[in-house]
Amino acid sequence: MKIEVEPLARVEGEGGIEVEIEGDQVKEVKFNLFEGPRFFESFIRGMHYEKVPDVMRRICAICTCAHSMASIKAVEDALGVKVSRQTELLRDLLIHGEMVESHALHVFALALPDFLGFPSVVHMAQKYPREVKGALQLKKAGNLVHNILTGREVHGMNERVGGFATIPSERDLERIKEAMQLTREFALLSVKLFSSFELPEAPRSENTFIALDPGKRFGYFGERHVASDGESWDVHDYRKYIKETTVKHSRAKHSSYKGRPFMVGALARIRLFGERLEGEAKELFKQHKDKLDYQNSLSNNLAQALELVHSVDRCISDVEELLSLGLKKEEPVEVKPKAGTGTASVEAPRGILIHSYKFDAKGRVVWADVITPTAMNAANVDKDFRVAAPKLVKNPKELERTLEMIARAYDPCISCATHLVRIKRI
């Protein structure tokens, strides 16, 4: 028997789950990523540095700001650009706003229907109208950050190499604060919900985690990768530690660390740096420590819920800090093109993202490398599948449902989260 979950609509494109069963034995189980490849690393060559982020942020819609930030920071790293404190704070606000938007969508609209037994958030709205409307308003608050800082919700243009083209008004920043305060209760609700669910035990297995060291405070920018085995390295050295190989069944190259799959994303961040959370997010983290099963990748949902609370509160505190410093109408830092190589890594909603470029003397790209979190997680999803499938082989319905839930928990990309399931007998 062959079970195919297809289309697993898209994981930054199209994907699916394939299980081959012979008698009572699982012969093969794969997380197939059939996304039509786009070859960004190839066609970006020759592009002038100033326009590189405008192209590269289009790798992904739901984490466009993470790509934007990684791309801009890699360019700045190569060209030796130092930005102002105000720019750093605005960027911190932006990346936290994206986390609110993306996590609200994933936690409530993509993951939650599984646990409550609905095919979609719209179906769920009939029974839980207040919760669903609240979740959408929380998502909207995240999008408001995008709108105000980048110029629109998806693929903005205001965040530039060296700073921001136009500095938002104080009133606009206050609107962000108000929207976050109004919808904060739904971030808290997500923690309450996901800490109450029992997780399927089937995928439980050893996980190795990698995340970006955020410094003293929990956050999504940093200069060093840290692994759960205690190793750490400067992001510039990522190629020494994170190896990529092409596999036939997936257009996302598979990644390994010391020859093994690894996991990135909210669970990795909470596992490695949860102690650095602040305020109510830290309280909740302590309170639900026993519910965070690090050997069960499905715990990523609860980790995202904790990050929702953190990110809402950080948006509020970033706005307060910006307002207390007073907004200066500054132009982006002037940049002089030169030959050089630059690398940057940021935490996208679904895990560490790396952009690395080499420029010629005129500031044109001669080489580019991008590793997305979805690609990094792909081998770990396969690992979870291999562990879970044999335990559920006698119950194909349960097998499908569990494998889908595992794939979704990684939040590989919005569209992979819900899809049509088809069983084919061979």
Binding site: G36, E41, A109, H123, L136
Partner: protein, 251 residues
Amino acid sequence: MKPKVGIFGFTGCAGDQLMILNLEDELLELVGALDLKSFTMASSAVEDGEYDVAFVEGSITTPKQKQKLEEIRKKAKLLVAIGDCAAWGGVQASCNGILKVEEKMREVYGAPDVWEIYESKPLSAYVKVDFVLPGCPIEKEEFLRAAASLLRGDLPEAVDYPVCVECKLRENGCLMLEGKLCLGPLTVGGCKARCPSLGVDCIGCRGVIEGEARVKSAIQVFKEAGFKLDYVRARLRMFAANYPEILEVKG
């Protein structure tokens, strides 16, 4: 009877479908007014059948996608391309005619023939497209307005004026006079000149105004303003490389 609708995605970033989900205030009402047969990005409930309107995002780059698109076309009364990938092939088409797919595949995946992949083409290269909602991403208000017309069976009115028109209405200064290469004069309006209003030159994400844009004259103007042809060409190709007049520009 509620209109039957399908929303589909091919090669791209899913940003146009995301813009539909970004209609946070209208989403539940909108979905409630439709008989949504397929929207795999948001729901696992999928039904087979005909569509009054099929909204399709993404460009076509694999044989399987081509086949699926043809199936959608057969089942749909109206097929609407949403976003730049579906309309023009997207940023992934920007090196069409310059860099072969095999070379790109060798570079990114280590071998030229790992899979059968097509050069990125718009939907119209394979099927009849009834209407185009342009943009990278689409404007969600424009989507709502267009959806309202389409669901009554009418084709909406397409925008046929450039970004410059809306830029002037917003009383922005011209960025070309500040020494920036702005693609506003060639690009389909309807975005309220978002980028120039923030002081950022238009990168042409809504595609070229078909049949109206004066590409050759624009290139001349850009060259006279001091921009090198290879830079101008790279900029024009970013979102509209498959537009014939742009495709034939030599570097």
